[in-house]
Symmetry: C2
Subunit: 461 residues, 2 copies
């Protein structure tokens, strides 16, 4: 008989994973390769290494190795903020009067406020190891930029963060955290790149966009000596790094003899969800469990539930390789929605393929209902969640209430990716009763779909 699980389970440092989990090694159908948009040919190593670190490219293309070693230096840095706690939500269960058991893996106990630091740590280390002296990236809401600023400071790398100008003005404090860690934060569009100058000339006074910031960061990386570009979601190697979330969760649960029935995560680019489910999915793909995997996206940006599974650009500026994924179209403009990190038109190719193959269920959640769940959770469990994370809370609560109606005692695990300390203008809207839900109409979606490239890979050129 297993003993009662405590409120929080922390693994010991000896128990922390020494290898990441590469779910692709167990996938029967690999996702389609990235394509060079000009040649329509698959991207190989030589297409990617001018932009990304070599080791990350190796990992991106690795479909073979189920486990990939975490270098000692990264494991050492992980110890500043990991292991993260696996929490049994006893107080939330009590508030819901549910027979379900609810568990969550909390990734927000670090200064970046989210799981993003797991991949930032790895990518900064590989950049340093390759002999680079600087890296670049873009950031919107700022969680990824903050995480990378911390990792760059730790490993002694120069970092330029192109931050969407309107965000850098609306979130001056996020910017200040990055500056405190020594990052150079450039409001984008800027006059430091060709791409930025072009946009500035064309749209005087623009607030910028993530697409433009990506273009600037990539240009800066490829035109600077010993510099590469670093990305915080979507790509396979980022999901690989995030598998540390799932590995720790699985080990902690196994210590108490617990197998979840349902695993829930929010999905924007898909890296946290992909990392959380990775080792559980690996077993599922071998027929070793029957876990239900649920990805939760905002109803305002419903890539999985209403998108198309086609080749599309990863950015709105159409500068990246083409990826086969669920997408709303690289030109899709989500309505204003405060769950900043989930406003992405596409989806991780790994998550897309698993969804396409029927291993994942997707749910779209409306913003006000997401905040209802966030506040219920905060009052019971103490943690003020990020709006992104609260999407997973919403569905975890809904599943727990379904268990109550049906008298079932399911075990629900969800990923709590981060804290909402820098999202309080959204909470203010909620508290003031001025928050609204805006779900795209079919006409909105059509405008987005029209921006999907017509090309041979999509069978329409």
């Amino acid at each position: 008989m297993a003993k009662q699980i405590p409120y929080k389970v922390y693994l010991t440092e000896e128990e922390m994973p020494e290898a990441w989990y590469n779910v692709k090694a167990r996938m029967k159908t690999q996702h389609a390769p990235f394509l060079n948009p000009a040649t329509q040919k698959p991207c190989g190593k030589s297409d990617l290494t001018p932009v990304f670190c070599e080791e990350c490219v190796e990992q991106e293309l690795n479909e073979k190795d189920e486990y990939i070693e975490i270098p000692e230096e990264i494991r050492s840095f992980y110890k500043t903020f990991r292991p993260s706690p696996l929490v049994r939500a006893y107080f939330l269960e009590r508030a819901l009067s549910t027979p379900a058991e609810i568990y969550y893996k909390f990734e927000g106990n670090n200064t970046s406020g989210s799981h993003k630091l797991n991949s930032a740590a790895a990518q900064a280390y590989y950049a340093k190891k390759q002999g680079l002296t600087s890296i670049t990236t873009e950031t919107g809401a700022g969680q990824w930029g903050t995480a990378l600023a911390m990792a760059a400071a730790f490993f002694g790398l120069k970092l330029d963060v192109y931050m969407v100008k309107i965000s850098s003005e609306q979130k001056p404090y996020r910017k200040e955290v990055m500056r405190t860690y020594g990052a150079n934060v450039v409001p984008s569009p800027s006059d430091t790149t060709e791409a930025g100058r072009r946009i500035l000339a064309q749209f005087l006074g623009t607030g910028g966009s993530l697409g433009c910031a990506i273009s600037e960061a990539v240009e800066k990386a490829v035109t600077t000596e010993n510099c590469r570009y670093v990305l915080g979601s979507v790509l396979d190697h980022v999901l690989l790094h995030q598998s540390v979330i799932g590995l720790e969760s699985k080990l902690a649960l196994e210590k108490y003899g617990i197998t979840p029935d349902i695993i829930i995560g929010c999905v924007g680019g898909g890296s946290n969800f992909g990392g959380l489910i990775a080792p559980f999915m690996g077993e599922r793909l071998q027929g070793k469990n029957e876990i239900e995997f649920i990805g939760v996206e905002p109803a305002s940006c419903p890539s999985l539930t209403r998108g198309k599974f086609v080749y599309d650009f990863c950015d709105s500026a159409k500068t990246t390789p083409l990826a086969k994924m669920y997408t709303l179209g690289c030109g899709f403009m989500p309505s204003p929605n405060h769950a900043g990190g989930l406003r992405y038109h596409g989806m991780s190719p790994i998550v897309s393929q698993l969804y396409h193959d029927g291993y994942i269920r997707a749910v779209a959640a409306e913003q006000t209902k997401v905040f209802d769940a966030a506040v219920t959770f905060a009052k019971c469990e103490g943690i003020l969640p990020a709006p992104e994370s609260a999407h997973a809370i919403r569905v975890a609560i809904d599943e727990a209430l379904a268990c109550k109606r049906e008298g079932k005692k399911k075990r629900i695990l969800f990923g709590l990716t981060g804290t909402g300390y820098f999202d309080l203008s959204a909470y203010k809207q909620y508290n003031d009763g001025t928050m609204t839900d805006r779900i795209p109409t079919d006409a909105d979606l059509k405008r987005g779909f029209d921006t999907i490239p017509r090309c041979p890979a999509n069978g329409n050129l």
Copy 2:
């Protein structure tokens, strides 16, 4: 031979303290009693229970019991955010190349962002247990108000927070966290109390003060049925609750056979420092150790290093009982200084007495040097510290550097009370190079001392 201590030590839930430590039971000289300012007679239970919860008053006056049980309901709530980690600062040691061992107890991993929740939890529970339906408090920077909002939500109490008006305008996000937890946040001065209306009539458009907010919160408590006032620092029962910090630290260190040579904490009202040192000081008072205890205060508000040990009011509005303590005078106005929580004119009577008796050393630190230490620490250890906490980091680094010069391998423990996520305007000043140090002149101090009451207890009336 003890094994190497890991980066972080978390106690198990079974190891969490079941009783607080009451250092007064080991003090040879008790601090002088609170006095009723009108009668100059010591305050007894009947003077205090109209304002404070009964159980807190019992604890306030208890000089006998070395251990006071933590009720099961409070220990249960503690499990949402405790045990807190004891961290070995391996990376800071490496950056300083010091032979010293540096440890810190980190209290910032909760939504209030600080140790304040330890006492908020206890006081809200006792209020509920006494059958009260609401509580009131004041808050300046907002950490205490946030902590109490969380605890009130958990135990189902109504809460009115009188927030210094200028703070509520400058820190709208702190206010929003409190609102999210269901607290009613009233910018002070307000028209909801006699005291507030009087101030408003006298000083139209004033930004308010902590003294005024205290007066409003106390008035609201004593004029509302089933309501009491709750305070976040200075008083003995608050230090008692904070002893959980020291108890956990001591047990974690003992598991690895470690006794600190130096313990460092920042001091404002003194509750975190008093709680951190309590069980170690209890042994010191019995001659069982030779630990050096260092309280660090801002040079801009130097109660211990430049204040007087006399009877004074605890608030600037002169409405509280008189306390014998180190004080700069209840009318002392510190220069603008961003370490908000340390801008208090007085000091915990327990800490004052121990300092007076020679058991504590006090150091005053200048703000820019404090931020230098904060940034060094953030880059090594990952955590962005609160400006208050960074005072302790400053002196921990100075002591570690002294060890390096002298070739000594001392063991240094400091209290990291909280995170700086809501203090980024101060970091911005530091990053921009516009932060300054303002140390009070002797004339500034004299103006403060002139506000200390002339009374028989002070031997001058």
